[in-house]
Subunit: 323 residues, 2 copies
């Protein structure tokens, strides 16, 4: 590479054209941690002492997020949802367990098939005639919020990075989806008694930077993409923005930061706030009488979901935390 | 290619993935003309019988626009502004003259150096310390509007195509420039007695389609880009959108059409309308007391600009039209 670290003038390990800077390993990690801390502080994501639950998938983003939050001194536990996508789910779960053990961190695992009489995402999406990614997203968001709330976490975090957020933004701009645009933010406050605040502390770092951080921190993660997500539109948007970034360094963050600062307030103003009610079956927030996940479970003949029954939730590694 | 024309099932000459269609030469031109006609009619660009002046550069877009408007029966004349960029300007001017002669069309040419004591864009931009493309755009827009108005044209047209418009939009979204976003439209109505309505009848067709139309219509055009525009940001945006379009056919038009339909009205509402006044030196519309072009001429020591003096305006080909 030949470049020198901006801080110590030692040989650089990574080049960040968007910041016009190169860093050695030590100062890259310092930079990375500072970006996460800045995101949390500036956007008021996590209060001091507040317990935070992280949705972990076994991929680099969520495991790096968990690692960094713990290193920064936050009380961060993990939740893995096994979605029953064959070997892929099992390998992902093992990866999360291995990471939690290595850090003596608290990891919960939920098995979706345990609630559905054995059906995973593939079967559910076929039965309810929805795209796998749509059904999966809905179920994961539901379980993440419900579990966080039932376990008394005030805030729930996901590993969405700058690439994820910018790609979603590009898609929403192409379709000019004002409702989605108004809801795209690093912090989504709770607007229902059973809704937990959602935060995205990695929104200031890129996928490439997160991967580098994982390698430098010795985090083993699942490289493969979910087999059901192949050819997803979001991948096209990510690659498009990578092309742009390569020829115009900084454009990706400009797009997202400028939207957050100048664009989003306008969409927020226009949004008609839907008054969320409580689902008649499970009590979770919903815009309809019965929530979409309860409707889905009904369609596939599964009973209402109870997290504290049937051994669907397991506690792995770290100190015990009873549900 | 192997594909067949959607209309006549003869061998196709061009494939349009964004329309999921292929066409033979005859039906491609039919499609192309229909898109231009649709743009004009739907956006109320040109009234029946109204004379229209086209800004021609010698490139494919403006010459195709001129050709198509004439074929569609519009009373369309051309204006070429020689910006004094050496050989490039001279070759461009010759190309326009050749085209006008071949069609017996009316072409005016204006020579910028004739107004500036010999200075072209390169020298002017150096003297006034502005980027060449910025100075050039300002001068061209000024001359185009002023000449159209002095010659009694009600409407002035440029050859901007879908690629141009989408690239500009992408740049404005990256910077979230609300003022520019509010002004990006296929029709800009006049908002000053000396301002002529501006229209972009090619906004529904792509660069590739316009190039194909030029070839099929036997239009000789200048292939080379302006030597001062090399490495322009707009080229990066165009290439980015071409990457996107290649992997998600139709995305480019979706971005631009959805913006026009759903996005732009919101920006228009928010815009504070600047009351345009008349320039104290030339009478042209301006937001300041003296317009930017008069200020520029003053800086380089050139006299106020008069189109009817000094032989700066020439009439080439076609029937005579006195200024």
């Amino acid at each position: 590479m030949g470049a020198l670290c901006k801080k110590c003038r030692e040989r650089a390990q990574i080049k960040l054209p968007r910041h016009n800077a190169s860093f050695c390993q030590k100062h890259f990690k310092e930079y990375f941690f500072k970006q996460v801390e800045k995101a949390i502080k500036k956007e008021k994501m996590i209060s001091p002492g507040e317990r935070v639950l992280i949705a972990v998938s076994g991929g680099k983003d969520s495991l790096v997020l968990w690692d960094v939050l713990r290193e920064l001194g936050y009380r961060a536990d993990g939740l893995y949802v096994n979605l029953g996508i064959g070997d892929y789910s099992d390998r992902s779960e093992e990866t999360c367990i291995r990471f939690a053990s290595s850090r003596s961190a608290n990891l919960y695992t939920i098995s979706l098939p345990a609630f559905t009489g054995g059906a995973g995402i593939r079967e559910i999406s076929r039965k309810v005639r929805r795209k796998a990614c749509a059904a999966c997203g809905m179920i994961k968001r539901y379980l993440f919020n419900r579990f966080s709330w039932e376990m008394g976490y005030g805030v729930a975090a996901t590993g969405h990075n700058l690439d994820d957020e910018a790609a979603t933004l590009l898609g929403n701009l192409i379709g000019w989806k004002e409702d989605y645009l108004s809801r795209q933010a690093p912090v989504m406050p709770s607007n229902h008694p059973r809704m937990v605040r959602k935060v995205k502390p990695l929104f200031r770092v890129t996928e490439k930077e997160t991967a580098a951080c994982a390698v430098m921190s010795g985090i083993g993660y699942i490289y493969e993409e979910c087999p059901l997500a192949r050819g997803a539109r979001s991948t096209v948007y990510k690659n498009t923005l990578n092309y742009l970034e390569q020829h115009s360094p900084g454009a990706k963050q400009q797009l997202f930061y400028n939207f957050l600062q100048k664009g989003r307030p306008g969409f927020l103003q226009k949004r008609e706030d839907v008054q969320l009610q409580s689902c008649s079956r499970c009590g979770q927030p919903t815009a309809t009488e019965t929530c979409a996940v309860c409707q889905m479970l009904e369609k596939i003949g599964a009973p209402p979901l109870s997290l504290s029954e049937g051994g669907a939730v397991k506690q792995k590694a770290g100190e015990a935390l009873a549900p």
